[in-house]
Amino acid sequence: MITLEIAGRQVQAEPGQTILEAAESAGIHIPTLCNLKGLSPRGACRICLVEVTTWRGKLVPSCATSVEEGMKVVAHSARLRELRRTILELLFAERNHICAVCVSNGSCELQDLACELGMDHVRYPYRFPGLNMDASHGKYVVDHNRCVLCGRCVRACSEVEGAMTWGFSRRGVDTLVATDVGSPWVDSKTCTECGKCVEACPTGALLDKRTSVAEQEKDPEVLSQVTERRPRV
């Protein structure tokens, strides 16, 4: 067992566990977005950044950083709170996150984060890029305007379903998630129609075709339920 300090408390953890896992098992909450139990960590959204005092104050994603004996971690501070809020505002400004007309209203992790971090307004100009939707598939829709590029669909599809349908295309602010390297979803040769991507998606970017405003419910826990039942290799 490893002993470290998170948010001023002594915490025990298994070697190889992440800071986030250690914090959660000790009941310390750290906000996250791109992380999802059952999937490999990506460290991309930067919401779960914590400060490691013993590494000269380095900021690291708690989802993707392993614990170390004697480590001291600041999980909450004015600086971190401000940084997380700025990141969240940038996400809200990036595409179109108007909750009132979203299928996931009330069941959205982005919305939950805004409430949790007290984000009541956005200081940055909205970009509203007016992206396309792909509703070609018989069961599901992807609305890129709601996508936060967390990559949970990509990882769910490759790591849990093994289909590798989803990937990223282009770069920078033009980055998109894409099925079969950019062909319409309905033409995908690899998609098994399992719906794991929809469950994994934290926002209303991936939705069930039959849902209307505020009807889409998500159950991202199915992914870890699947992976936990798998035999360990």
Partner: protein
């Protein structure tokens, strides 16, 4: 009997300005004059003063000819080679008789570039004749891996790829890393626009890099190495491939190197050109065939790199220093430079400066010496305004800071970085807001899009800057830019995002009045931003020659021939500058601020 060696530069810049043709007509002229046994032509790598190409050097006396064309060859042969009278008009500045008297060369300290422009890079024998592979031979036969590492540590050599991480420390971490096999990678991605120091080394002295890699591999216990080189460097790639082949044939790479039990070989991997692929974790992903995206560190590549194995990544220039550390000794290497930054650094000088090109100077030299003496200062009649150092995410230092020493710490303290060694000199015609925007356009465009602060933050900063230069800035923009810049630096996943705000922060720090003028006065003081200037005919100077009206593409320049003054119709003017250039009487000027 051979009397003279003619070294013709065959670096990429000289080849594109015609050095191949020069070399061919020289060969012909020598044959015609029966001089082939007396004068030898040698092709070399980059000599440095690239805008003066094609350049050639004649030994033993060290005559340096610039801007040589095939038409000059006959005169060189007749006057110089036959009569012993150098062709004055082809000499640099028309006077300097020998290379060491030209300040461009006199202030330089060539270590990494010592062979560039001297040896034929395609012949391993020439490299060996100048002490090549002595470091490798010494390391494998006389030194333990630990001794090599402690020598590198003692030399104070730091990574030249940008971050300045101590090389010895990295090697030690790698030596102690658990896991096998171990890989080493030479980072030759060189994505900074305008940078070509690594290319020059690979083209001009490829064996120095190979030898550095072999010594590193011996020290850390690696059997396989990769050179990750950008596909846009075809000459570097072919010279490297050739050099690797020669080294293998001579038993300097491959199994049982120099008949010891040390084995090591090198493969080339081509990069597709994205700037972020130079970042070490993205580079690893790219070699593995994945999307070139950085990942959080730790784990560092020395713990988990290529295919999960310990991997050590060093820059081309770092590796090219290694042989000097091993052969000359740590003390000698460390005798050049400052307390914390040892040895030399190669810079690519560009912008409003007389000697653009490639230079190598001791660390700790002041920016003033680098720019004014080695670089020859700004052209006549111009004033130096700032020096942008460190590549696209470097900082802009104002003229008053020219005495800052060029070392990692001093540059960092003042808001710039060493980066990979790009130096762009700006004169008083540069608008600093526009300069900041220019660099941010590059980084925002090259952001891989993985992490939120860099992906959205850099584009948002760019939007704000675009509004400011368009005359739509507000008082809130400056504090907003600063806040955002801090969040991006703090929150981004990799070095690209962590440094991207530097050009904006440094210009805000040293040139706040220019931002102020753009926002509060709606004026671009340097007369650059089209929305914040207007064109004006000086009534007294106009002679109504009609030239401006003739060149103006939109009909904004108006008047009747012979009846001064003409005038510029502001609504029609697109600020193309054609009239200013056409006016023979300097009667048209660009005035900061909007009309009225």
């Amino acid at each position: 009997m051979r009397r003279l060696d003619v070294l013709v530069c065959s670096g990429t810049a000289c080849v594109s300005s015609g050095s191949t043709e020069v070399k061919e007509s020289l060969a012909q002229a020598l044959a015609d004059s029966d001089l082939r046994s007396e004068v030898r032509i040698l092709e070399t790598g980059c000599m440095g003063p690239c805008e003066l190409g094609p350049v050639m050097m004649i030994y033993p006396e060290g005559t340096f000819y610039v801007k040589v064309s095939p038409d000059d060859v006959q005169e060189i042969v007749e006057e110089h080679f036959l009569k012993g009278r150098p062709v004055r008009r082809l000499l640099w500045e028309g006077v300097a008789p020998a290379l060491k008297e030209v300040p461009f060369f006199a202030r330089q300290h060539k270590l990494v570039l010592a062979n560039c422009g001297i040896i034929n890079p395609e012949r391993i024998e020439e490299y060996i004749a100048r002490g090549g592979y002595e470091a490798l031979a010494r390391a494998v036969s006389e030194m333990s891996p630990e001794q090599v590492i402690s020598e590198v540590s003692a030399s104070g050599l730091r990574g030249r790829g940008g971050a300045g991480f101590p090389a010895g420390k990295k090697w030690e971490l790698m030596r102690n890393a658990n896991g096998s096999p171990k890989y080493i990678v030479c980072n030759a991605d060189e994505g900074d626009p305008g940078a070509f120091m690594d290319r020059a080394v690979l083209e001009g002295d490829p064996h120095a890099v190979i030898e550095g890699m072999a010594v590193a591999a011996y020290a850390v216990g690696a059997q396989r190495g990769f050179v990750y080189v950008r596909a846009e460097y075809p000459l570097a790639i072919s010279r490297l491939e050739e050099a690797v082949g020669q080294a293998r044939r001579m038993g300097l790479l491959g199994d049982s190197i120099l008949e010891t039990d040390f084995s090591f070989d090198i493969e080339l991997r081509m990069g597709a050109g994205a700037f972020v692929c130079g970042e070490e974790t993205a580079l690893i992903a790219s070699i593995e065939g994945k999307r070139g995206e950085p990942r959080p560190r730790p784990p560092f590549p020395t713990e988990s790199g290529l295919w999960g194995c310990p991997t050590m990544i060093n820059n081309v220039e770092t590796l090219a220093c290694v042989r000097h550390v091993v052969v000359g000794g740590a003390d000698k290497f460390a005798s050049v430079g400052t307390e914390t930054s040892k040895g030399t650094k190669v810079f690519a000088l560009a912008g409003q400066i007389r000697n653009t090109g490639l230079v190598e100077v001791p660390m700790g030299i002041s920016l003033r010496e680098l720019v004014m003496e080695v670089g020859g200062g700004v052209p006549e009649g111009r004033n130096l305004k700032a020096v942008q150092i460190g590549g696209p995410s470097g900082g802009c230092l104002p003229e008053k800071l020219l005495d800052v020493p060029v070392d990692y710490e001093s540059l960092g303290e003042h808001g710039a970085i060493m980066g990979s060694g790009g130096v762009i000199v700006l004169d008083d015609t540069a608008c600093m807001v526009n300069v900041a925007k220019f660099f941010l356009e590059f980084t925002a465009d090259e952001s891989c899009g993985k992490c939120v602060p860099c992906r959205v933050g850099t584009s948002t900063m760019l939007d704000i800057l675009s509004r400011i230069v368009a005359g739509q800035g507000t008082e809130a923009d400056v504090p907003r830019l600063k806040e955002l810049a801090e969040s991006i630096k703090m929150g981004s996943l990799c070095g690209l995002g962590q440094t991207a705000p530097n050009p904006v922060l440094s210009t805000l720090r040293y040139f706040p009045e220019e931002y102020e003028a753009h926002i509060a006065d709606r004026a671009c003081p340097a007369g650059v931003c089209p929305d914040l200037v207007h064109y004006l005919v000086l009534v007294d100077q106009c002679r109504a020659c009609d030239r401006c009206r003739q060149v103006c593409p939109t009909g904004a320049a108006q008047g009747a021939p012979g009846t001064p003054p003409y005038h510029i119709e502001d609504e029609l003017c697109i600020r193309c500058g054609a009239c200013v250039e056409a006016c023979p009487f300097d009667a048209i000027i660009v005035k900061p601020g909007r009309k009225g």
